[in-house]
């Protein structure tokens, strides 16, 4: 593995992790923008804009873009989160430069009115689809409740009404502000020709003008409110619990990740033994969500409505046990083993490497080898986890539930 880096004069970083024996290469643009960078008036624009990049440029129609990717046999997609928009593709090594050139073109989209109006329909369909996915819906609503007026509570998709009211002009203004080269990162991982990739990027991206992007970063302790809504077509109760965690830049992120594995991994965790093994809940997980300057621990549980009181009692006592007795040495060791093997397996795919490479650069401006991450994971002690538990108090959470209508008594 060899790390490569270049910064263009306008501030755009280009990084690569070269593995000459890989059978593929993954490349991507990482844009430091998401729903937390939106105001209420333009909520949903980051995600909508991600769709619009595929609609082409002054030179290419949407059809031409799709055909160009498919001609290379690229596996490509994009995703928008609360704070990042990532455009990525995996191809065979001989197409690395070609696929990079397509992404470069798309980073300066035409944003045509006709395309905007057509894609609006697709966005509204996506919003409808997620309304039918309670596991997603409850997370989105719990986030809003937890973060309150903090921008990290903004919905990624926005609302149907909000999207209806959004104009192409508002999107163009947002694009200009957020897609400046100083807010973009290009990264590649796998088998590629570094010189050729850099030459392609320099030729076009160097002409892009810096923009004042920026982001106000504030921590958030969360509202700790509890709410429930009903939907007549649901069978099960969908519960989300959210509490503060450490940010992506914090060195304690490894401890936080291990704590989440100990408590809420799909097998062998405390949730597993207390909730799943005993058939109290059908699904129960705890995930650590590190973000820019803030973070959350997020629990998702699916169970019958009648089991909710017992499930909540159990979760409360799991958190109380953690606060009182901490975690055991062998529990931590098992969590480390699972985490390390995940790291090794994910790292065997170019796409997995690209995501690690890009995230480390976005949050830390650092290249970290897998070995460094392995060392950091191995170095976490039970004391590290105990001090995290003492500081963060997982038992003091925001709670949102979506469930079926309760029969009137």
């Amino acid at each position: 593995m060899e790390f490569k880096k270049q910064t263009l004069d306008n501030g755009m970083d280009v990084i690569g992790e070269l593995n000459p024996s890989a059978k593929s290469v993954a490349v991507g643009f990482f844009v430091k923008t998401g729903s937390r960078d939106e105001t209420e008036q333009i909520n949903g624009v980051s995600h909508f804009l991600e769709h619009m990049l595929f609609k082409g440029t002054d030179k290419y129609s949407a059809t031409a873009v799709n055909e160009a990717f498919d001609k290379l046999g690229a596996e490509y997609n994009a995703g928008t989160s609360w704070e990042n928009t990532i455009f990525h593709a995996a191809v065979l090594p001989e197409y690395a430069v070609d696929v990079t050139k397509i992404w470069i073109e798309l980073m300066r989209p035409a944003l045509r009115d006709d395309d905007f109006n057509m894609e609006k329909q697709v966005i509204k369909e996506e919003i409808a689809m997620y309304k039918d996915t309670p596991a997603f819906d409850v997370l989105d609503r719990c986030r809003k409740l937890h973060f309150g007026t903090h921008p990290c509570g903004n919905s990624i998709l926005g609302t149907e009404q909000g999207i209806d009211g959004l104009t192409a002009e508002q999107m163009r203004e947002y694009f200009t502000r957020r897609y400046g080269p100083n807010n973009l990162l290009f990264a590649c991982a796998g088998n590629f020709d570094w010189q050729a990739i850099c030459a392609a990027l320099e030729k076009t991206c160097s002409t892009w003008q810096r923009q004042p992007a920026g982001r106000e970063v504030q921590p958030c302790r969360g509202s700790k409110k509890k709410e429930r809504i009903e939907k007549s077509n649901l069978t099960y109760e969908h519960l989300c619990l959210m509490s503060p965690a450490v940010p992506a830049q914090d060195e304690r992120r490894f401890a936080a990740y291990l704590l989440a594995t100990i408590v809420g991994d799909s097998v062998g965790s405390r949730y597993y033994w207390e909730l799943i093994d005993k058939a109290l809940a059908e699904t129960a997980s705890l995930q650590f969500g590190p973000m820019d300057g803030t973070g959350v621990f997020c629990t998702y549980i699916r169970c019958s409505t009648e089991n909710v009181p017992k499930v909540l009692d159990t979760v409360t006592s799991i958190f109380a046990d953690l606060a009182e007795g901490g975690v055991k040495e062998d529990e931590l060791q098992k969590a480390k083993n699972k985490t390390l093997s995940t790291l090794v397996i994910e790292n065997e795919l170019s796409h997995g490497r690209l995501m690690r490479l890009g995230a480390n650069w976005q949050y830390l401006q650092q290249y970290r080898t897998v070995e460094e991450d392995i060392d950091s994971i191995n170095a976490v002690t039970t004391e590290d986890i105990h001090s995290l538990i003492a500081e963060l108090d997982l038992g003091d959470f925001t709670q949102f539930a979506i469930g079926p209508e309760k029969p009137t008594k």
Partner: protein, 410 residues
């Protein structure tokens, strides 16, 4: 890179397959046990889901927690799934722990504790999973579609039925384990970093039991209803469409795969272009090949708001029906490149390769090399695919919808 594929058959008939991969530190393995949903006795739909949970709740002298701890201690990523013909249990892990992992899996498969109180919990969870499907119309519509497309028992729900799960007893489930975990019909597949000779020696010690009686071949019944609508006050109408095509062992298999790629390979393929790009009818739209050994189909999903549901189905049907009218050279090229590229990109994953060689052996009786698959895709031409489509016209379509509004199916 020279491919490194291996095969060995134990005295009892259990087949061991291996594919060694360079430049990886992980290994993945799977046991394809002949205990899929279609092979279960009548009235036990869902038993395989209970069993694939139950066998991990203690085995080989370890109780449930000890066994789980031992697996977590090795950092195993456990997988288990129930398909139409097989229940697959396996794991992905760092290569150094393979030997200990196989010892544990031999316990799980041959010496599970199968305690009645643990059965009850596994059964309750299986019931919960079926019930929870009501809150996931996207998954439910596709399961229902398969049930209606394939003749029984091939279409049986791989999750199970609540009524049959409720009447399943521990004794009955234990009998099914005894009957279904037939090693003579079991395929073991391993891919990644390993020593095949060492694996064979260990597997011989662990699994070489006496020969067992072969299971009887499946008798299939008539196909059920053609269109079903399930009313649900959901935001979208979830549409599943399926029609028959040639199964994997047939010579036209690659023509069928390329045809599906023209229809729904990448974002420039026909369904995405016509349904989403030109008309904005859907966010999620796509079709894929789904093959069993003797029957196969092309299954398509679309989710759309009620007012657009009819038009969405009409456009999908039109695209299926006009596929045999002709295919452009350019779109043929894209379809083939997409299939080949996807094959190679996914071949870097040990889990994908272990799954691939196992299912190849079951479906074809042998393992294909990546080069062979690439060559066969390469051999497909516009003429061969169009001629195939004209000789295998899409016949009946099975359609399932879930949502607030029923649509007209002609």
């Amino acid at each position: 890179m020279a491919e490194q594929q291996f095969q060995h058959v134990l005295k009892n008939g259990m087949v061991l397959l291996g594919e060694r991969m360079d430049d990886v530190e992980s290994v993945a393995f799977g046991f394809l046990l002949p205990a899929g949903a279609a092979l279960l006795p009548e009235g036990c739909c869902g038993a395989a889901n209970v069993i694939s949970d139950w066998i991990f709740r203690g085995a080989g002298g370890k109780n449930s927690r000890q066994l789980s701890d031992a697996m977590d201690g090795l950092g195993l990523h456990r997988t288990h799934s129930v398909g139409t013909t097989h229940t697959v249990v396996g794991a992905a892990l760092e290569a150094t722990h393979l030997r200990q992992a196989l010892d544990l899996y031999a316990d799980v498969i041959l010496r599970a504790n199968l305690e009645p109180d643990q059965f009850e919990l596994a059964r309750q969870l299986a019931v919960h999973r079926v019930q929870a499907l009501d809150d996931d119309p996207r998954q439910k519509v596709m399961l229902q579609l398969r049930q209606q497309f394939y003749p029984p028992p091939l279409g049986r729900s791989t999750l199970g039925r609540v009524d049959e799960l409720m009447s399943l007893s521990a004794k009955r489930a234990r009998d099914i384990v005894g009957m279904s975990f037939d090693l003579s019909q079991t395929i073991f597949a391993v891919a990644g970093k390993f020593d095949f000779d060492a694996v064979c020696r260990q597997m011989e010690k662990l699994f070489d039991t006496d020969n067992e009686e072969a299971l009887e071949p499946l008798a299939v019944g008539p196909r059920p209803a053609r269109y079903t609508h399930i009313t649900n006050e959901s935001a979208q109408v979830h549409i599943g469409v399926m029609t028959g095509t040639v199964p994997p062992p047939e010579k036209d298999y690659y023509n069928a795969r390329v045809a599906v790629s023209v229809l729904s390979g990448g974002m420039s393929a026909r369904l995405f272009t016509e349904v989403r790009e030109k008309r904005g009818l859907c966010y999620a739209i796509g079709a894929r090949y789904h093959g069993l050994k003797d029957v196969a189909g092309i299954m398509c999903y679309a989710g759309t708001t009620p007012d657009k549901a009819q038009e969405t189905l009409d456009v999908i049907m039109r695209e299926f029906n006009r596929l045999g009218d002709g295919i452009g050279e350019e779109e043929m090229h894209r379809a083939k490149v997409g299939l080949k590229s996807s094959l190679i990109l996914h071949s870097e994953s040990t889990s994908t390769r272990a799954g691939g060689i196992g299912s190849d052996y079951y479906l074809l009786g042998r393992v294909r090399s990546l080069d062979e698959i690439k060559d066969r895709i390469e051999q497909a031409t516009v003429d061969s695919v169009v001629s195939f489509l004209q000789h295998h016209k899409f016949g009946d379509f099975t359609v399932v919808t879930i949502g607030p509004k029923e649509i007209a199916v002609t």
